[in-house]
Amino acid sequence: MQFLSRYGRTDWFGPLLVTILAAIIVGSLSPSFLSAFNIQVLLLAVAINALVAYSQMIIIAIGEMNLSVGAIGGLAAISFAGMMQVWHMPILPAALLGILIGLLGGIINGVIISLTGISAFVITLASLSIYKGVNLGITEAQPFYGIPNLVKHLGNAPFLGPLPWLIIPTAIVGFGLWLMLTRLPIGRCILAVGGNRHAAELSGISIRLTVIVAHALSGAIAALAGILLCARLQIGQPTIGDDWLILSFAAPVIGGAVLTGGHVSVGATTLGVVIVAIITEALVLFNIDPFLVQVVLGVLILWAVGINRLREFRLKPLRRA
């Protein structure tokens, strides 16, 4: 009991429970669910979606929103593919440049927001159509096909058992973020700014810098997600990123993130992604009407939020304590 109340408070406990339950249920109904190849497929989905979620999570941490996550990811993806096809650039520099573009996109967002003080929502709404527009302008909406085989291979093959290569960068980023948000002052500053901007300011934390850093990170991570997706799809699709927005918010929220900022959890967010992935897959495996996916996702979000809500109440200090 004591144990429960102790872990019941942590963010990852609820999602973990759900993940396990979901896995057991789906697995028992369709044994092949736990087959190596299927796990690999699942991990591939998670590898990319997790990055998408992270890049939103970092912005949620400072209590803002980044609507341009998808646009940045898409732009980075097609630049990555384009540079390799058109300029025959080697893979690594292409990837780095792609990430750099994302970083830049994020920094632009951050700088404008922190200099003008206009709400991130509006700015990223604008930059969303700019980045997306540049993407369309470059590609004329035609995909780039010239993806080197090595990339295609890395994009799909496992390096050990069911573990795909793509999971590696994601794992690194995830761990890095966890380290940053729990152990590094810069991460704590980000959370502090989200938790109480005024106090952070008076404590000598530079709000502007922190905001810019957060957006830069968000951009870079989004770019990485785009590049990985590009490797996985084996084509530089201009439509990459178009459908990221909902997931990018859903996963952190399921993971107990507080939209007003100051509180996010890498672990729980990752689990949020896993849950969504399992559900999506279950719906296919059991040949369930694809139209229902959206409904399920929506309900899932509400349910998760509801749970967190309850926890919030439990954490509230007594009025007179």
């Binding site: 604008a126 527009g133 300011e201 979000i301």
Partner: protein
């Protein structure tokens, strides 16, 4: 005493002490959003006419007005929620649901179209109510609630209709989107203007409208002054649903059919116009201040730009990029304007 106020407590209390002079007041008028927008519309309009004479052709003016009308109403639907400091991501989903509902009533239930339209609008309002109720009951930000509800509404709609369109739409209804007064004015545009006037009346001349603004500006103060904040917020969401329904039915008339795909997946295609109108129009995302006229002008400007850029043939693929850029510029200018004024008033 400013230094007690949060404004000054933050590090950027400006040091200038300018007292408003008549000149400044005149300047201030020229700085109003509406004026700025009208100016932009004239400038761009002139520019496009110069570049593409056909820009002023009756046909183009007609379709310009009609497209604008849709964007304007979509903008209004978002605006009435933004007033409360919240937002409604599900406008698109609700709009489509209302449209499909109306289509069903016309085709399957075979109701006369006025009743069907009312039915559709009621559906929209009902869905809005669901949003509002969930928001006030859970105390969560409307962003999360509507993020979820947009999936749910749209999903259920598509699940029920199996994505089949309703196309036996009475001519008398559909014609609203096709008649041209004086060869270039769309009835839909007039409808949009009427709705604007209605909203102006609501916010300026009714207790409810004023309460909406009060609740949006500072819920706690409004509450303690006897405003039933929760009820008001629910009403705002219902109004949003209603307006989304209007926009949806406009599209039904325009397409002669109720199509599930008319606002894209989950109705996301509406989000951009929904926010751009109010934002350009000077409605504060933080709530408490609203400008229906501004929204109307903002959405119109937006449509004008899209249309003009297409005519310029800069290559349709660059249109969106240019749009985004212009939007950014517009927002920055608006910010400059606001801080300019803020320096004169110490808020």
């Amino acid at each position: 005493m400013p230094s007690d106020g949060p404004a000054a407590a933050s590090l950027d209390a400006s040091d200038t002490t300018l007292t408003p002079s008549p000149r400044v007041r005149r300047v201030r008028f020229y700085l109003t959003n509406e004026f700025g927008l009208v100016l932009l519309i004239i400038i761009f309009g002139a520019a496009f006419t110069f570049a593409v004479p056909r820009f002023l052709s009756h046909f183009n003016l007609f379709i310009l007005g009609r497209t604008a009308a849709e964007n304007i109403v979509i903008g209004f639907a978002m605006m009435v929620v933004v007033v409360t400091g919240g937002l409604d991501l599900s406008v698109g989903a609700i709009g489509v649901c209302a449209a499909m509902g109306g289509g069903w009533l016309m085709q399957v239930a075979g109701l006369p179209w006025p009743l069907a339209v009312i039915g559709g609008l009621l559906l929209g309002a009902a869905l809005g109510f669901v949003n509002g109720w969930a928001v006030v009951r859970s105390g969560l930000h409307s962003f999360i609630i509507t993020l979820a509800s947009m999936s749910i509404f749209f999903g259920v709609m598509i699940f029920i209709t199996r994505a089949q369109a309703f196309r036996s739409i009475p001519l008398s209804f559909a014609s609203f989107a096709h008649i041209r007064y004086f060869g270039f004015i769309s009835p839909l545009l007039l409808l949009a203007v009427v709705i604007m006037l209605a909203l102006v009346y609501l916010y300026r001349l009714t207790a409810l409208g004023r309460e909406m603004l009060a609740a949006g500006a500072r819920a706690s103060a409004a509450e303690l002054s006897g405003v039933r904040v929760k009820r008001v917020i629910i009403l705002c969401h219902m109004l949003a649903g209603l307006l989304a329904g209007v926009a949806g039915l406009m599209l039904v008339a325009r397409n002669d059919a109720a199509i599930p795909s008319m606002a894209g997946q989950l109705g996301q295609d509406w989000l951009l116009p929904a926010f751009l109108g109010p934002v350009l129009g000077g409605t504060l995302l933080s709530g408490g201040f609203v400008s229906p006229l501004g929204t109307l002008l903002g959405s119109f400007l937006l449509t004008l730009l899209t249309n003009g850029l297409l005519l310029l043939q800069i290559g349709q693929f660059w249109v969106e990029a240019v749009l985004g850029l212009l939007l950014l510029v517009a927002v920055l200018l608006d910010q400059a304007r606001r801080s300019f004024i803020a320096r004169r008033r110490m808020i």
